[in-house]
Symmetry: D2
């Protein structure tokens, strides 16, 4: 059986295990104040081409998301995000749990537009009873989105302009950032993200690490006491160097981008096979997640050798299913899947 | 100028001021443990025809809503309500502030259906990753709704059946309850509400009192320690007898229902005048709030003598405006408004 | 029976009921945006001799306390207060409920000192692991304290100096403010409080109103969006003018201070009678609350005609009990109590 | 330099790295639903000699503590713990952040007694105004305590009896559990803990793992939806098998207990050296943390070759410092430290 159900079903890239082995006998300072976290932060700042970024390392994505939001918002402020956004639909109400409302906007292929954000921000600004509604203050985007799609540079610049006009913070959830930057259709770079967002994450868990998300804070208002937010919200790892070490290993010599680019290429091969077989895509994803519309019979056939995820049962009885490649996907696995797809009738 | 902008712009029915005057020299126990709160609770239980109701008195509606919800939900549980529901759009995220997500369902004329509720409850029950989403546990309805509409007995029974099947609590926000029960088109009674809901409020603020909402708790799980929830959430009035006293005065001799019924009759006269004048209604409200579609010129004309609220600017340039009658509305005011509406062209 | 158990067991000063009666037929804007709230705020600013104060009116003390604290603190910040402070021992954990830790300092006669506050603030400043502990950010004082005692001007200035040095906000809970300022031993004035604190409350509920606390915000960081905090925390009264009206009536012609001064004079008469009778005081309170140590027999004797509150059973079997006078206490009541006390053996 | 500053300054026992290496190429189900978590849970239930324990794996101690507390308490309920308890003094107010008050009891050598707990529980039960105070509902103990001390079986049984009488839940924080059970002076076993507590943790981070705490839930009320609490509070690791795998490796063949017992033996050698040198201990700790009173000169001398932690500057100018051994401490390190201590003057 081959597993395509997600991109976090394997351990870590060998370079990570090697680094763990190599440093295991050393002793380090605790709680993220150690040489490896410093090194990794320095590597990240170099990639972002900016010195003003504060970098922290947390263990998971949900944790990273709500910790950033906790640090960004006052109690009466709310979050704008796509109604398909991860924080809205898959994090057990963690943002509301820490006290903030999410104003969900209807997404198109997982994305929201500058116009939608502006309309909501303007509604508050023009309200005659602002104290009866929450004040939108932070825009949450995922990149790639939950549907594998990407914001273009033009789209992100338009959103940034709205944020500037209305005093909104822009936070980009990069749990799969490598697969976004690794897409041939991506026109954004890390320095672009540093310039256009107020905070973003660089996902490790899905991109080669055992676990770990790097939180990059650009906006000065987010930086003071962020370690207090991490600790209070349970995200401070006692042996914090394990996070710095992993990121340092991944960012050494372009490894992070090499392995995620490969995964996207494999996804493109899978996509080509689907289209060749005359099977419809649910939408046009340029990254490692591919959403395919199968008949129930086709799904049954593929399930004999492959594990993949049901995204949604469509009204006409067909199924939208998701195939993920990852840094761990081997070429022969892709070849087998492509062959089995082409053989579908 | 005549004020139709809301139903809480006047003091209190004279019977209330009289009661305050009469008892002012007396001394009472504090925090809602006094003879007047007991009396009013007894009057309410008699009207509900049940002994199992616990009754508490709070000062305001937002407070009553989130206190009930705080007592009803565990942290991972969420609220189902109309996307036009008061807790979702006009309470500054108070429900999220105490930690709970609201799952907003698209409303039709301010109402949601048993079918919509069931679909959402089933989605959780059938989820393969229930720990990644919140568990819908309480249904919030407003009665009348924010658009003046009413649930029928059949609709409420259908919702009750879904709640029973899925283990949901049913909470009805009766901030304008008098205007609902006072409508000729209402087929629900107080005993029906006691039978069909797990908790509901009887609005005082908008129905003749200076302030005050009675919270009626039917479901046994909501009753223990509810006074702790009130105190913790800032809703416990030191001189609690002021609340009991007001409700007792209002419920004496059917006063509450007489004055709200009158207000609805006045609203019906206003509605007739609108229809006679060939002016469209935004929707068909059988209670004290009437939503009327005016041209900008018509609105300007009326604004010379009347104060009313803009609900929404419609895409075609016309305005949806709201006129509220209340227990304080005098017949001559309604006659003037009707005459001015008929004179519109 | 005469009631000395607290200072909120009677309705309101007649001037308040009269004002309610006089304005009952008028209509007003909602939610505290009306002519009476404006008037009362103007009266308060005049008494404070400052224009920079923002004034809001809330219904109760617990509500006022946690709403100010919610507006003042970021999530990782905490409150310093006496271990006998109202927010620590009598508000059902409301401060913790909105997410903040209280660092309780051992009180002496209900008070804490500048030195205690400084020690705690310095502990944080000098900590090598500040992210593992909360950051003290607001000092909560009650004035008078829960034991009727008063901070002197010198004490408050010393606390202010520490607050300035360590960036702490100073919040003074004046639920019984009138009884403090009305004490012959008080050397602080309202302008002093405006100069020395960042926020304080002027209690109405215990000082002649039906209900209501005025929140005075001095520090600019507390003012923006405070109405959002009020609404989100359930403290916004729909008919907000009822609060402004009451404060306006109380502050008209020195009424507030006249009636509270009288209550303190009555308390002093009671105190004299206790001392004359050779009965020990628990502590030396210069305000309307008197704490007296009675034998069980003495308490039983007094309880035949008087209602008062048990504060604490002392280890030696005697009882510390509390007698409160209030704006509603009549001279003949005090005379009776004094006579009964003098008659104790 | 030798590091004695804490017990989480080294990577992991080689058996753990080996397990990671061995399974790295495998793929597993996500979020803790995998064969390794199942295996480790089974191993733990076998050690506890009970089938009724639910076992979960979280990444850190603060996270584990507040997640259990979130699942255990209703909003008006509070936690009883020692005023030296980790949740009270070193977790950035995380318990308050999720809404609960901690009632801190004066500790003796890090411990609280059944009598103290009963007094506090009785105070609530006998209160005439229970709604004004929080309801103590959960007792938090650390074992070993923050001062390395241990509750005896008799003490824990007495606390259990109070909990039973007053309906309190008993939660034991076992971040250093191995060092407690590994002490020659410990008379408690794992089955005892399963019998006497409602929930406890088995610390991995400080006892040989890279990271990870096993949460053992005994009381049925804590078990339903606990995974929702984990996810909502950010404690659910995507590659959850990494936690199960580590615990499984540690619990294989008594490894966990062997390595922690060794560390305690080394601490005892250190303790003997201190006593031999005539240097006073701060208190009598039977586990891996030793608290020693040094003069500033002695501390300076030792700091030339050893890193240890300042616990507290004593009033007389001397220093209370902490030395920790751990699973990673080597015999020659202990020998060096002992020699250097004996050489102190």
């Amino acid at each position: 059986m081959y597993r395509w159900n997600n991109d976090y079903n394997h351990g870590a890239h060998p370079a990570i295990l090697e680094a763990l082995q190599r440093t295991n006998a050393q002793s380090y300072g605790g709680y993220g104040q150690d040489v490896w976290c410093e090194t990794a932060a320095r590597q990240i700042r170099a990639l972002l081409e900016t010195d003003r970024a504060q970098v922290h390392f947390l263990t998971g994505g949900t944790q990273a998301n709500f910790t950033v939001i906790a640090a960004a918002l006052r109690p009466y402020e709310s979050v704008l995000c796509a109604d398909t956004g991860h924080i809205h639909v898959h994090e057990t109400g963690a943002v509301e749990h820490i006290g903030h409302k999410i104003l969900a906007l209807p997404a198109r292929d997982g994305k929201i537009s500058a116009g939608q954000i502006e309309a909501e921000a303007r509604r508050f600004r023009e309200s005659e009873i602002p104290e009866h509604i929450t004040c939108p203050r932070l825009v949450y985007l995922s990149f790639p989105t939950e549907f594998g799609t990407l914001y273009t540079k033009a789209e992100l610049e338009a959103i940034r302009a709205v944020c500037d006009e209305y005093g909104l913070l822009l936070f980009l959830d990069g749990a799969r950032l490598g697969y976004g930057l690794g897409s041939p259709r991506c026109d954004l770079s890390l320095p672009d993200l540093a310039r256009l967002t107020d905070a973003f994450t660089i996902g490790g868990t899905k991109c080669g690490a055992l676990f770990g998300e790097a939180v990059v804070l650009l906006h000065p208002s987010l930086q003071p006491f962020f370690r207090s937010f991490i600790k209070q919200n349970g995200g401070m790892l006692a042996k914090g160097w394990l996070l710095g070490l992993q990121f340092s290993a991944l960012l050494e010599g372009d490894l992070y981008f090499t392995i995620t680019r490969q995964a996207v290429e494999q996804a493109m091969r899978l996509r080509d096979a689907v289209l060749e077989a005359g099977i419809p895509l649910y939408l046009d994803s340029p990254t490692n997640q591919q959403f395919v519309i199968l008949t129930r019979e086709q799904a049954d056939t593929l399930e004999r050798s492959h594990i993949f995820e049901l995204q949604e049962a469509l009204p006409d009885g067909r199924l939208c299913v998701r195939f993920c490649t990852s840094w761990a996907t081997r070429d022969e696995e892709v070849e087998t899947l492509c062959r089995d797809i082409r053989a579908l009738r």
